[in-house]
Amino acid sequence: MFPTPLDKRPPSARVTYQAFLPLALIAWLLPLLAVAIFSIKPGADFTNANYWGVPSSFNFIENYGQVFFNSDMPRYLLNSFLITVPTVVGAVALSAMAGFALGVYKFKANIWLFFMFVAGNFVPFQILMVPVRDLTLDLGLYNTKTGLVLFHVAFQTGFCTLFMRNFIKALPYELIEAARVEGISEIRIFWYVVLPLMKPALAALAVLIFTFIWNDYFWAVVLTQGPDSQPVTAGITAFNSEFRAMYHMMSAGSIVAALPPVAMFFLMQKHFIAGLTLGAVK
């Protein structure tokens, strides 16, 4: 292990390390802690310029209650879910099939199709912006959740296919050959042989895509407007202009908006990290 494990060092090193660890964490999360503190302060503290003093009262319930019952935030949150969940399902389904095709079959166009997905995945959003917006307008899907979902599914398919294909390539190929000898059709091989083995990859991708799409801001601004269809990332800017200079409300709103992917991460940590670090180890 590198660096040298602490139990092979003098005990003083261990004590210093354990004392230093929480301090480092607090420093690292300082900007965020500030927002968390703001979110439980009463509004009066800000008008009295009591930014960093002891809160004059503990307003957790009032502030978060306002966010949930007296603003558009619940609608934005619902929109985010209605955009994120179908995207996850769609992108994972499309890429599972595409990844299977690219990982299992040998044909001439294979590597080029694979590179098309990889390259498209790196393209800057701006070069897609005007055509995709026009297409969405032409389909009558501008300012709808469906319009956003369709684009997200398409774009995420690039990354997901890369991921799935590499995962499937690492599976034992003999399994598929054995199934073929048995005379099982290719579609059944996909469904009954490969798909069950892909569960870890499916889970990892689902968590990852959930976070990516939930946090998307650019496409939300380009393809939607207003509380009917905008997700929470775009909604928070509207929320903030509604509660201008009410820092306690803006803080509580931001925390609520950021929470679902955070919860997802802590619940599905193993899958999340497996997804992110695929390929980081040889």
């Binding site: 292990m1 590198f2 701006q126 070069i127 912006m129 369709l150 800017t237 950021a258």
Partner: protein, 309 residues
């Protein structure tokens, strides 16, 4: 080929059964290719084409040849926008790479086994999971000249107050620092996973040879972390060139347009209150694409070499 010449078993099998090995991949690929071509590949070419037109998004598009690019090059339309954006993109690219050594540093720091270390690792990674919109807001307040923690801390040392986002000379660096926060967390997790897989025997061998500290890191550990470094490099470069959310949330390109990057400038030109100059915007997007293409080609080439092995 006629049926008469086929062996009996071939006749009994349907067209699908005979050809499924060739047909199946295309069947599986069809939906993904369809979506990807319609929404990603074809639009790239549309944008290239659009950059040769002048178009307000509604009326008739007028063919103007390369004039949009000339306007960009000489900055005829927007004074001090294109080159400021380009320069800022360059600053982003270079400084954003600091996330890689910073991530490695934190990963080395956290690669110990003490009680609760798993929770510490998760909490250090935490900024990456938060949306950039919230990160932008958090850092806007962090820098705030009236109440930001930064100035509170500077005040303890008798320095400040500074208005990072209000000054043309510091604003870009302030936003980059905000971007480095989640990006460092990302690189950290890549390296933590990589460090887990480092071969302990090689470390021991290195120790016997008297390698320690930095030397051990450079000659024994880092070579084994190469795959992690490559991915960290890819995601950091892409992240730097994609920077849009933070700029939009923190400064809207200001003050006086000094924190714009190409991605933001393009959006501003095509879709904001500054007008709907779609063709001009497309030309900016093409420039950004060209910069990105240098890296995409390099990434694909590296991957191709790996595939060939």
């Amino acid at each position: 080929m006629t049926h008469a010449t086929m062996p009996q078993t071939e006749i009994d099998r349907t067209f699908w059964q005979r050809n499924q090995q060739t047909l199946a991949p295309w069947l599986f690929l069809m939906p993904a290719i369809l979506f990807f071509v319609v929404y990603v590949i074809y639009p790239v070419f549309q944008s290239f084409n659009l950059s040769l037109y002048e178009w307000d998004g509604l009326g008739q598009a007028e063919y103007v040849g390369l004039r949009n690019y000339e306007d960009l090059y000489w900055e005829y339309v927007d004074r001090d926008s294109f080159y400021v954006s380009l320069k800022n993109n360059l600053i982003w690219l270079i400084l954003y790479l600091l996330a890689i050594p910073a991530g490695l540093f934190i990963a080395l720091f956290l690669n110990q086994t003490v009680t609760g270390i798993r929770l510490y690792k998760s909490l250090f990674f935490f900024p990456f999971v938060i949306s950039q919109v919230v990160v932008g807001l958090v850092f806007t307040w962090f820098y705030d000249p009236a109440f930001g923690i930064l100035n509170v801390v500077l005040g303890w040392f008798g320095a400040g107050p500074v208005n990072i986002l209000g000054s043309e000379s510091t604003v870009t660096y302030g936003i980059i620092l905000a971007g480095l926060w989640p990006q460092t967390a990302y690189c950290m997790i890549l390296y933590l996973t990589g460090l887990n897989a480092v071969n302990p025997e090689q470390i021991e061998a290195g120790r016997l040879d008297g390698a320690k500290g930095i030397k051990m890191l450079w000659y024994v550990v880092l070579p084994q972390l190469k795959p992690a470094t490559f991915i960290a490099f890819v995601v950091t470069i892409i992240g730097a060139l994609r920077s849009f959310d933070l700029i939009s949330v923190m400064t809207s390109g200001g003050p006086f347009g000094s924190s714009k990057v190409l991605a933001y400038y393009m959006f501003e030109v095509s879709l904001s209150e500054y007008g709907f100059r779609m063709g001009y915007g497309a030309a900016i997007a093409v420039v950004l694409f060209a910069i990105m293409m240098i890296f995409i080609t390099y990434f694909l080439w590296s991957m191709y070499r790996e595939e060939k092995r």
